[in-house]
Amino acid sequence: MLSNLGNIFIIVALLISFLLVFFSFKEFKTNNNLIPVKIYKISLLQLFFTASSFIILLLAYVLSDFSLANVYENSHTNKPLFYKISGTWGNHEGSLLLWINILVLFSSLFLFINKNNDKDFKILTLLFQNILVIIFLIFLLSNSNPFSKLFPIPLEGLGLNPILQDPALAIHPPLLYVGFVGSSIYFSAALAALISKIDSQSLAISIKPWVLVSWFFQTVGILVGSIWAYYELGWGGYWFWDPVENSSLMPWFVMTALLHSILVLERRIGLYSWVIVLSILTFTMSVTGTFLVRSGILNSVHTFASDPSRGLFILSFLIIMVFFSIYIFFKFAPNESKKYTIFSKETFIIANNWFMIFFLGVVLIGTLYPVFLDTITGSKISVGPPYYNLVLAPFLIPLLFLMTSGPNYKWISHETKSFFDLVLVLSVILFLITFLLIKESSFLLNLILFFSIYLIIQTLFDFYESFKKKNINISRIISHLGFGLLIFFIYINHIFSQENNFNLKLGEIKKTDQYIIKFENLEEKSIKNYKSIVGYFNISDKKTSITKELKPEIRVYDKPITITYEASIESNLFSDTYLTMSNISETDVFNIKFQVKPFMNFIWFSVLLLSLGGLLNFLSRNKNEKN
């Protein structure tokens, strides 16, 4: 029943999308100044049908309707309701439907909210966006239909992989999708802007909120993803430079560059073509990321069910999209004259852009290099974290410096004032204190430390100044502060992290440099859908003689039969104590990984601060509009 209904809704949505493309195209050729009501109505109808089809799939999951192959493969009746719901997008087919929903949602929102725009521009954006919708709907229907039927109807589903039963993982795909797919709307808008030749200011105004929204969600999505990796993978790391993680980071770099360039475009005419290139590049990177993840050509710790035919489809789409964009760009892009003085805000923003593009290039090369080498020479390699750290770290120094000094320069040109720099002195003092505490010998790391402190102090100072002047650019301050803190805490975390791997039997004691770890007890428990072996560990600090109890688990789930190792993490404000145990030989020897990770909560908080800046900018903009 639900299967048929879902299929019907999808087909209707596809027909409506064709209609929308047809009418937009016809409308583009007329000389009317207003978009006819008809188009608004069709767009609403399209939103209704796509949203309904998603709700039907959601319902099928909640009601455990196993006549849908998709529900059968990914759900189970005794799964908690929360994971039944998140199961909807926890698989390829469902997530594609979510992807389409976001495309359509952004298409209608753009049509309804941007009321004061050029008609041709709006209609063309709608046209391009709905071509995207059609392509993905066809992909869904022909290759990845979440509503395919199963006969005979099974009595019970197969269950969701227990590793995926985690709140952070359940919510992070939708977040990333709003970021990934949200970038489609300014891709469409950029192409439309080229053809309709709207001026740079209206382009900036009309795409800025969408860039901010997608950037915010992308940032939070990446954050939640790394929190999941930290808690669930049991390695104690939060970023592995894994291809899947990289493919969410690559669009983020471009979005960040775009965000900054739009600030220029809003006020001045420069960078028009550049903003368009970045808009196109963001969505291209999002689709490339999706291709890399879904086609299975990369090796990753995060496995997705992969299928070459899906890869082929996404790749064909990517090829058409890129060449079409290149063609449109070179046919319509205006010639620009460039005039700015060197010490202006613009220069710094352009510098920011170059850094972001450089970071993008580094990550892209690192991610694709194994693919290239395999294709050309056949040797199998993977690129390790040292590559990224080695190449990216030195460039953090100038970036941090530019972030510190750039925002205080005026637009167009700037006269340098000389004054006794309190901020610099304060930073130097703070740096020396930290240096004496840490005694790190690497010159490079010390420079990074210093410049991150400098950035933090300067932004705090700016914060105070702007309050005095009542001229608050609070979003920039918060985001830059977040970034400074992030680098600072990653650095501290990197220096003070401890890791010990050893094997223990019940009742034994292991002494490390600073801690005494005692394996006190072992207990078996039986819980609703899994059996659990809980280890009781007593950790005591030799210096402070503070003791902690940690209880890592080995879980054996029954649907499907899967073993997971649950890390036990004792988290307080300044430091996390992290312990995982496993037992592979089925003897009484347990394998233990014991870690101490300082300032983890501060790292999460810094990223939150970073994203909050974007959100604030978005909200304050809307407030300004109303006034």
Partner: protein, 172 residues
């Protein structure tokens, strides 16, 4: 200048896409061509719910044998099952089902629900034996002739096309 940029960028992207495209082909794990014509390795497998075993050497008595690796927890297996039932109607093929890492009760109810196409039902409780057949995931299906040579190996669920292909192969 503009034209040159246009050409350079197009060429760069073309190169990138060609590599990505060929990697798509390259990485296709499911390449079983090498196996065709090879003799199947000699393995002893347990019969389902019994202490007896069967040796792959014994398949020499059959005109054609199909080895199918399945489990009740495997979704694609459920999809391909009707096709196995179709194959069981072909006279000169003996179907051997190897049940992998499964719960006995759910395996039984799976066959009750969907029909039992297998002439011989074997089990591989911990999946260790299947490694000897070069089985990577399930479902997988191997067609061998009376000389124990592999005629064809299918990775992933069998579809109607595969069934027709097998029909043709055993007709000769």
């Amino acid at each position: 200048m503009r034209k040159i940029n246009y050409i350079i960028i197009s060429i760069l992207f073309s190169f990138l896409f060609i590599i990505l495209y060929s990697s798509l082909d390259n990485e296709r794990i499911y390449n079983t061509k090498d196996l065709i014509g090879k003799k199947i390795s000699q393995v002893e497998i347990n019969l389902f719910q019994s202490n007896e075993t069967i040796n792959t050497e014994e398949f020499i008595n059959n005109e054609f044998t199909i080895l199918n690796f399945w489990a009740s927890w495997c979704a694609p297996c459920r999809k391909e099952h009707p096709n196995l039932v179709r194959l069981s109607k072909i006279k000169n093929i003996k179907l051997v089902g190897v049940n992998i890492k499964d719960n006995v009760e759910s395996a039984k109810s799976f066959l009750k629900e969907n029909g039992n196409p297998f002439d011989i039902l074997a089990e591989d409780k911990n999946g260790k034996n299947s490694v000897n057949f070069g089985v990577y995931g399930i479902p997988e299906t191997i067609l061998i002739d009376s000389e124990l040579k592999i005629l064809k190996k299918y990775i992933g669920p069998l579809n109607i096309k595969d069934v027709n292909e097998i029909r043709k192969l055993v007709k000769k």
